[in-house]
């Protein structure tokens, strides 16, 4: 990296060479100025079957394509004359009725990849399907507007592409204390105790030290800030997503200056025996999210939180021989928040008679228009800079 760029991007830009006790100074760097809005992204990993989630219960083509695995009409929670929720999404019906949920159908991108890895990369980097970028869209947001690693948090042990920027990265943690503990149980803290600012230059070794200091500072911040927090909300047990969302609620309600949170629920790759499996997963999702929204409301933070849910792709319209579905293309995206501009169903479901060459739903809305809209209207930043391109603004918020 050029020296100038390094300085510009360094959290220490102003204090680097002038403050002797730089470790302390770093921990005190003043943040904010980015507004109070928070974004929570939930990835349903593995490719959730969107057609059995938001069901076209009046469409004969749907029932013809899925004789064994279609959701039957009498089990549907009706949303309008054409579409209905899978029965396990009942906890979300309340949100829907209050206008806190917007469902965007047929979201995808041109020349879709049907590989989990590739498509996840494409969604996380907001790239075209023939590009291989090494940064994620949230990482680039940090590059432009972030000051600290913990301004974007993934609830996990390792960092996904989405939170990696060119110069800055978000941070992954399982809980408010897991990083803090990790620092204390290794040689990490001891090494840092002996350091002075000599190593903090633009070279690679300086970068390692800087990253270590960032990690320490973020770990301490998360631990200290959440110390006194105590949630009264009950979360569903044996629900991995619920656990992650509980941690996120703890962070949000403790007043962290984190802007973006990332959570995920895996297991949606239902090639065989789909019905029971997806039912269980949707149950986990709906109950987890419902408790989360309850928690945020109780603490008056729902109004500043927007939750989006996506999956790297939808699944094939036609069921396969194993009572499951194979990898598909376009899928639905859920947007949850207060004061949504377009509540309920954002658009109609794509035609089931006009499918692509693989027999998958054609996309109508590029997922990057959703990102662009959220960046500009919700996080109030320059979406073009982050997405490297201008995308249409949608009007769901």
């Amino acid at each position: 990296m050029e020296r100038r760029k390094f300085l510009k991007n360094s959290a220490l830009a102003s204090s680097l060479f002038f403050v002797p006790n730089f470790l302390k100074a770093l921990e005190d760097v003043d943040l904010n100025g980015l507004g109070y809005n928070k974004l929570v992204v939930i990835q349903l990993s593995g490719g959730n079957d969107g057609l059995n989630t938001i069901v076209p219960y009046r469409n004969d083509l749907y029932y013809k394509a899925r004789p064994e695995i279609a959701v039957s009409k009498n089990e549907i929670i009706k949303l309008n004359d054409d579409l209905g929720f899978h029965k396990k999404l009942l906890p979300l019906k309340k949100l829907y009725d209050r206008g806190d949920l917007s469902i965007i159908n047929n979201v995808g991108y041109p020349n879709p990849s049907r590989s989990h890895f590739r498509s996840t990369d494409i969604w996380q980097s907001a790239s075209n399907s023939n590009e291989y970028p090494q940064t994620g869209w949230v990482g680039r947001y940090l590059d432009e507007y972030g000051k600290k690693a913990h301004q974007a948090i993934e609830i996990d042990d390792s960092l996904s592409l989405v939170l990696k920027g060119e110069f800055k990265n978000g941070i992954a943690t399982r809980s408010s204390s897991s990083l803090y503990k990790l620092l204390h149980e290794s040689n990490f803290n001891r090494i840092l105790e002996y350091q002075n600012s000599n190593h903090l230059n633009e070279h690679n070794l300086g970068y390692l030290y800087k990253t270590m200091i960032d990690a320490k500072s973020s770990a301490n911040y998360l631990f200290e800030k959440t110390k006194t927090y105590n949630s009264k909300q009950t979360y569903p047990t044996k629900n991995p997503l619920g656990g992650q969302l509980k941690t996120i609620a703890e962070f949000i309600n403790s007043g962290l200056d984190t802007k973006v949170y990332y959570a995920s629920l895996g297991g949606f790759d239902t090639h065989a025996g789909q019905v029971n499996r997806q039912e269980h997963l949707l149950d986990l999702y709906a109950n987890g999210v419902s408790a989360f929204v309850g928690d945020l409301k109780r603490n008056n933070s729902f109004k500043n939180t927007l939750i989006i849910t996506f999956s790297e792709f939808g699944r094939r319209v036609k069921q396969n021989a194993g009572y499951g579905t194979d990898h598909g293309a376009a899928n639905n995206v859920f947007v949850i928040g207060e004061n949504l501009k377009q509540q309920g169903l954002y658009n109609d479901l794509a035609s089931l008679s006009d499918l692509d060459a693989n027999g998958d739903l054609k996309y109508e809305i590029d997922f990057r228009t959703i990102y662009a809209t959220i960046l500009k209207k919700w996080l109030k930043v320059n979406d073009k800079k982050i997405l490297n391109k201008s995308f249409k603004q949608l009007d769901f918020i």
């Binding site: 989990h116 290794s186 040689n187």
Partner: protein, 457 residues
């Protein structure tokens, strides 16, 4: 050749040296050391795995029966893990240091992956065979290998419906780099690669019926080209020699490209596209040993892990744990994220990976417990069933302390640090090291290897 320069050479051309190995080389001339380095890698030792368990599977039955296919896939997946394990072991123990380092490099250049072990084994050994050979033959061999044919959809490249995936990556990632060819060049060359197939024995098959034998225009040349001729035309472009030279410079010398050095390399490589000649030229150049190139590269996770193993032999009793470490550190051999490969350098480092990298030596050597879990696969169900928040694990490894202690028996603290750490050591770290007492003591090895300085090579 001075000690520092020998270490530098052996870190870039290999994975470091023990103090006693260093002592054996000191006093030899630069020429002799470099000659020996290449001599040691003259031999090609294929990395083999026993796949006889797969012999029972016949192509037709796999296609017909989903149950058989499932068994076939599971066996393949297990053998793949095992192959990863023996590859890591090979890197940590092989005497053909440079060939193995180059194989690792090419695996991240001609990036391809496959789930079938026999194909993967063949491809891995193809990389090893050509690692120091003729680049022209190398590219041609890669284009005809089953793993590449499958990975970049050459097997779907037909006369009537060309698939451009391979043709595009051939130029963008393998030979020229973006901006040095036109969309038309891609379309025309894709036609030349039509009909490339492979059989169940992983052998190349040229399907004439699917091959487009009409005239193609490629880089201003017209002809009834086949794939090999397209590769010849690409190699006529000096940009190809430059592109490879740049990539090799970044990997073996420095992330910061020095244009005049790369120019010199380009001239050398363009002459005959001989990889060994190019590497000899680099290691023989004075600029390779410039201070700004020594100890300034961030080790890849594999370099870190294998480098530790070269100092103190470590045996993983559970292959899955070795894979887990590679996953958490973002470099799992045989499972590249995408065709562009690992970017390397600072991309290895983020707030989380640095924590694991610093902790890794104590996890390995002190059996310190850890609570780091890799992300789940898309297909697995562990996230569904296990909601344990507190899992403390310890690696099941056997550390050969005896061999380490023998190796450092008469070594001074200074000499140990000198051979373990190539980068400059700042005052704070020097003070910290002073608190540790005699550094060759067993308990100090993980402390030295936990230093950020140890992350550099």
């Amino acid at each position: 050749m001075n000690k520092k320069h020998i270490l530098h050479l052996y870190w870039r051309a290999g994975f470091g040296l023990l103090p006693k190995q260093l002592d054996l080389l000191v006093g030899k001339s630069k020429e002799q050391i470099i000659n020996d380095l290449f001599l040691e890698s003259k031999k090609i030792s294929p990395l083999r795995i026993n796949t006889t368990g797969l012999d029972a599977f016949k192509e037709e039955t796999i296609k017909k029966s989903p149950e058989v296919k499932k068994d076939y896939n599971i066996l393949n997946a297990n053998l793949m893990k095992k192959y990863n394990h023996i590859w890591v072991n090979r890197l940590a123990t092989s005497k053909e240091t440079l060939r193995e380092k180059m194989t690792l490099f090419w695996a991240n250049h001609f990036v391809a992956k496959d789930a079938r072990i026999k194909n993967v084994e063949q491809y891995n050994n193809l990389l090893r065979k050509h690692a120091l050979g003729d680049f022209r033959q190398f590219v041609k061999a890669v284009s005809k290998d089953s793993v590449m044919i499958q990975f970049l959809n050459l097997n779907q490249n037909n006369k009537s419906k060309p698939n451009e995936n391979f043709a595009r990556e051939l130029m963008e990632l393998f030979t020229l780099g973006t901006g040095h060819y036109s969309e038309r060049d891609i379309k025309e060359s894709a036609r030349a690669f039509t009909g490339y197939r492979f059989n169940f024995k992983s052998q190349f098959v040229f399907n004439e019926k699917q091959h487009d034998s009409e005239i193609k225009t490629f880089f201003e040349e017209k002809g009834n080209f086949e794939g090999d001729q397209i590769i010849d035309i690409i190699l006529k472009q000096k940009q190809c020699a430059r592109f490879i030279s740049e990539k090799i410079y970044k990997y073996f010398v420095s992330e910061d490209i020095n244009v005049s050095h790369v120019n010199l390399m380009t001239e050398v490589f363009y002459k005959d596209y001989n990889i060994e000649n190019l590497m000899r030229y680099i290691f023989g150049s004075d600029w390779f040993y410039n201070p700004e190139n020594i100890g300034t590269k961030i080790k890849s996770p594999i370099e870190l892990l294998v480098g530790i193993g070269r100092i103190i032999p470590i045996k993983f009793n559970k292959t899955n744990e070795l894979l887990k470490i590679q996953t958490v550190l973002d470099q799992k051999l045989l499972y590249p994220a995408n065709v562009a490969g690992w970017k390397g350098g600072r991309n290895w480092i983020n707030t989380n990976s640095i924590l694991v990298r610093i902790k890794l030596p104590t996890m390995l050597l002190e059996k310190e417990s850890f609570t780091i879990q890799p992300k789940g696969n898309f297909t697995d169900k562990f996230k569904l069933v296990s909601v344990k928040n507190k899992y403390q694990e310890k690696l099941d490894v056997r550390v050969d302390w005896k061999s380490y202690q023998k190796a450092v028996k008469k070594v001074s603290s200074n000499d140990l640090i000198f051979s373990l750490i190539l980068s400059e050591i700042n005052l704070g770290t020097q003070n910290y090291l002073k608190t540790l007492g005699r550094l060759t003591k067993r308990k100090n090895l993980s402390k030295i290897m936990s230093l950020p300085e140890y992350q550099m090579c």
